[in-house]
Subunit: 333 residues, 2 copies
């Protein structure tokens, strides 16, 4: 059913000029006389002409496409990220080739797509790339930016919240509030977001005489819910549970309530991310806010510099973020 769209030659004929001239009219910065321009635009409008981005991309070696790979779209943290990236990229004249990654590590097929379509850069939000895949991208001169994942020693950029320090501060915060029996519900292991938060949290507690119990939660609501059930069913249940992200913490809150516990009196809960739902009255979750806007801004700035021929030196940045106190944690009396 696909008809051929009109091309610049047809417009040229109609306007009585050469095809080169038509091309110039649609190339910002080219010199065309106002009269000719008008005639060409007129003809183009009548014919419904639009420059073919593929042909343009081919000859200019510039596609204006950015590859965006995202894994956990169901976690409300990410749709917001996707929306903001898409909007900002469009404002800068770029388009988004969207890939949903199934696993923690983005695979070869998913990357091939980016390579074949000659994307100008790749943003990966919550997945990692194996060193040789990053190499294959960067050997093609395609900048890669890891958003919300940290990978040291690889030829790509990364931006995330300073999860280690945040985890530590959360530990200290809870300790100072009087909590001594704590639990942490992990996200997926081997993700820097989880590991850094976990490490920071553990270190804050070490040698202070606080108990710490750890369960697996997979960064999901169900994971948080089930882990909380296990934790809260113990003889000595934790006084506070730190969920590796907000969606986990929401699961914890619901589990606690389901077995008749009240928050924060029977058990306090703290999360990480500050997704919209954390502030919903049903939850009022105390959490650590990731500075999403700054992180996105940095990502794009870096991306555009690299596309423009930046030095390609891998850089990595951590944004602090901030504790947001709501009702799910209170000072122990």
């Amino acid at each position: 059913m696909k008809k051929k769209p009109v091309n610049s030659m047809e417009v040229a004929k109609k306007a009585g000029v050469s095809q080169s001239t038509v091309s110039r009219v649609f190339t910002p910065g080219s010199s065309v006389s106002p009269k000719t321009r008008k005639r060409v635009l007129e003809a183009a409008r009548e014919l419904g002409y639009r420059p073919n981005a593929l042909a343009r991309g081919l000859i200019m070696n510039k596609t204006n496409i950015i590859g965006l790979a995202m894994r956990d779209i169901q976690n409300p943290f990410y749709p917001e990220i996707l929306e903001k990236f898409t909007k900002a990229l469009r404002d800068n004249g770029y388009h988004v080739l969207f890939v949903h990654t199934e696993n923690d590590e983005i695979n070869q097929d998913e990357i091939s797509e980016f390579l074949e379509y000659n994307v100008e850069g790749v943003i990966v939000t919550d997945a990692t790339l194996s060193p040789n895949i990053i190499a294959s991208l960067s050997s093609n001169g395609i900048p890669v930016i890891l958003f919300n994942r940290r990978m040291d020693g690889l030829p790509c950029h990364s931006v995330s919240c300073d999860n280690y320090t945040a985890g530590k501060k959360i530990g200290e915060y809870l300790y100072e509030l009087g909590y001594r029996r704590m639990a942490y519900i992990r996200g997926r292991k081997n993700t820097s977001t989880n590991d850094d938060r976990e490490r920071g949290f553990c270190e804050a507690l070490m040698g202070r005489g606080a108990e710490l119990c750890i369960e697996d939660g997979e960064f999901t609501y169900e994971g948080g819910y089930n882990a909380a059930l296990r934790l809260l069913g113990k003889r000595e249940r934790p006084e506070v549970i730190f969920g590796a992200n907000d969606i986990t913490a929401l699961g914890v809150m619901d589990a606690a309530r389901a077995i008749g516990l009240s928050i924060p009196d029977d058990v306090a809960v703290i999360g990480f991310d500050d997704i919209t739902m954390a502030s919903w009255p049903s939850y009022g979750l105390t959490t650590w806010r990731q500075p999403v806007d700054e992180m996105i801004e940095w990502t794009l700035a870096k991306l555009f510099v690299e596309i423009d021929g930046g030095d390609g030196k891998p850089s990595s940045i951590l944004f602090p973020g901030i504790l947001v106190e709501r009702g799910s944690v209170k000072k122990r009396s």
Copy 2:
């Protein structure tokens, strides 16, 4: 910083064959001797060659790109849709050019992107297109499928839940349970999802001696929350509130609780969509489940038929969906 990727000519030289042969090796169904194929693949692997999808798209007039336009990514209903579409499209060899629409009606710029990149089809989830934009797509032979929006008399396909009948059944269900003072919280007006649900609901109640009060809610949590506050502050508050979608209904539940009302005893709540959160223990929202998988399946089947040269006759389908009873509504005693 962008280096040129290796092209088929370089591979040809290395393998000692013509460029045509290299091309054939990468074109499924072309005849190449096993020996030659092996030599070419070897050379390609060593050089890290990948066929350039843009050049291929240009010559074959087939890009393998589908344009996907989505508006309300923040509504948890849609990330799931996005994930499923992306996955299914990839399984069929297509890639997704993602556009986030800012307004209810998708605008010219957003469509230009699709046109310029020669997408083979367009899926629009929760936005509408003006007739002349649809015309410009279909005159280029690009099939358009509206997902979760109904538009009659336009040259495009549409699939959605039978919102009118569902709204009606919800009205009857509530009536039969003994509810007489009801409220409906609207989604954005002039969206078929809202209008059909509203119309069905109203008609079910008409002439039965039930009261119906309507408030605006914009399909958002905040909208639902605030509308509920208005409704529940009245002298005669409604016995049940129907939120135009689940996220609205969740806002209603939180608002009701915030002012000390219990659900469903003081006020019952019903939603629409059956998003994951509707089944969370904190909510247990009774709602109407949209048959998302079937809707997606139909969309893709139709899309592929059209791409293959279908008749282009606009078709429209409604799936019934089903009532899912949870705890937020109960029989009135």
